[in-house]
Symmetry: C2
């Protein structure tokens, strides 16, 4: 009977990929690929990625007809002026909220979203309160980025930490490889 109950529960999962290792975004992309294979309605916002950027995933998404919107100014860890970055990111969150609340999606990705909370641009408690109220119950929501705040982890159903064991940049002189890293 317990087993039967388990089988019956069906809900939109809140999935968080965090940690300092690789694979947070690619694991999210892999989920999008799976749900695309099942003809689910997919959307997402890539924070920080430049709106004109053309990464491997941007090209792939376009070709697959998946709406994954880059809404950033191309921020990198070496950026100095964060005002523009912050404004674009917060605008991205407003756009994402409309899309999430619209009910038009079955799977939605907020890529690199944790930084908006970690940098103090958004309050994690308020984000979670908004999601509790407005996220459609069956919508699967995937959030990636380092330093996922405790309130988000508390709210999430599935949290994975990607942990670096060995990295070619640190150990060897290897450049980022197109198609693999971006």
């Amino acid at each position: 009977m317990a087993r039967r109950t388990r089988q019956q529960v069906r809900k939109g999962l809140v999935i968080v990929n965090t940690g300092y290792g690789k694979g947070k975004t690619t694991a999210a992309l892999g989920i999008l690929m799976r749900s695309w294979g099942r003809d689910m309605r997919i959307g997402g916002v890539q924070f920080f990625k430049h709106e004109k950027a053309s990464f491997g995933e941007t090209k792939a998404m376009k070709r697959m007809g998946i709406e994954l919107t880059p809404m950033g100014d191309g921020f990198t860890w070496t950026s100095r002026d964060l005002d523009e970055t912050q404004a674009k990111a917060l605008h991205g969150w407003e756009v994402a909220k409309q899309k999430i609340a619209s009910g038009g999606y079955e799977v939605f990705l907020l890529d690199e979203f944790t930084y908006l909370m970690h940098f103090g641009w958004l309050d994690a408690g308020e984000v979670v309160a908004w999601l509790r109220e407005h996220k459609p119950p069956t919508l699967h929501l995937i959030i990636t980025g380092r330093d996922a705040p405790p309130a988000l982890i508390e709210y999430a159903d599935l949290v994975t930490e990607m942990k670096l064991i060995k990295h070619p940049y640190e150990d060897q002189g290897i450049k980022a490889q197109p198609g693999i890293e971006f």
Copy 2:
């Protein structure tokens, strides 16, 4: 000058996604999506996945024209008779070796390959020795699965541990969600 040298190194990475958390296979699929977006030649073998299985990724790969061959008998953690599983898996490795050595790919996935070594069906040292000799230098090779053996980690360029922080199956009564988990 050191920086310039870094930029110039270009090689096929050996990427290992291991650990007991989620995201090992999906992160690999995300890399395949990126490289597909860049029109790279992609191949792979999914060990254990039943050859007739139709997962979200199977459907997606077929639609994308990516050759990702399921070569297994549908092994699960509750399987009892492993003879057939072992035979199919070892056959999968023979097929994979031919494909890898062929030079016909730029990115290749060995999904859930670590188990063949962890279960003692293959010797990790011999696998690595074979790869050192036969893997084309520019081929990116991605290997997933729990318990990656030390010889493989030693050989790999990039190793990430996917670590479980919170899981819906354990904490709540949630069933596996199509398009997300498979």
